[in-house]
Amino acid sequence: MLPTSPGKTNKILSPEEGKLLESLTLNHFLTLSAILFSLGVFGVMTRRNAVVVLMGIELMLNSANINLIAFSRFNGNLDGQMLAIFVIVLAAAEAAVALAIILNMYSNLKTVNLDEVDQLKE
């Protein structure tokens, strides 16, 4: 049950529409999210460019969001969706700060390859 205004947001639209998701189990969404997370981990581990590593992190955050929203849908409350909103906001903040750091790194060291950035000072 939804915590606020029950009966209004959790109503059944029509019997056929309620049945449509029955053939899709929670495991489908969790499997998709697991594949996406593994691809993100692979990207973070193997890519040399810092911007592509950030893209891998965004993929991992997206897969976590799919997990949260799928559990929220299949458990019948909105807590997972609220958490997913906070994840999206923190992803935006993280991308802004990380790109600022990458720009600074490029202007100081003239490279964004992570294996060449191995010193604490110039």
Partner: protein, 168 residues
Amino acid sequence: MEVIMFWILAVIIVASAIATVFSKNIIYSAFSLLFSFLGVAGIYAMLSADFLAVTQIMVYVGGILTLLLFGVMLTNRITTMSLKTDVFNFIPGLIIAAVMLGSLLYVIWVTGTWAKHSPAVWDTTVESIGTLTITQYLLPFEMVAIILLVAVVGASYIARKDKQNIKS
């Protein structure tokens, strides 16, 4: 119908994520990421999260992807064709990703004991999310607002040019 939609979206997401991770060209990676984000927004819409689907398109596609493209443009000399990036640690990364995928799938399909049925179709969730934001989740909402403010100020402080660098 929904099953077909799910498989189409899943193929789009996984294929463009693979293209993002494996592509040698960073621009191709960024544009593949666009389709991945759009597919994830479709998955949100399938899961009755209409507000989050729109938020995903606005924040990720409109904000984060644009920011990443700016990062690509500003940190690579396009004229010297240095947009290519190569892969290192290929075998260890592949092993770790495969082991992680295998263990996740094992947990999901073998030891998962959660309910697999879905409840009835929801109406729009915008009103409930708004009410939850200002009642039960008020403190996290304010904290996240302050974090966003600090992150924006800090990012603009870090990314600014020094006066000595401008003169020289």
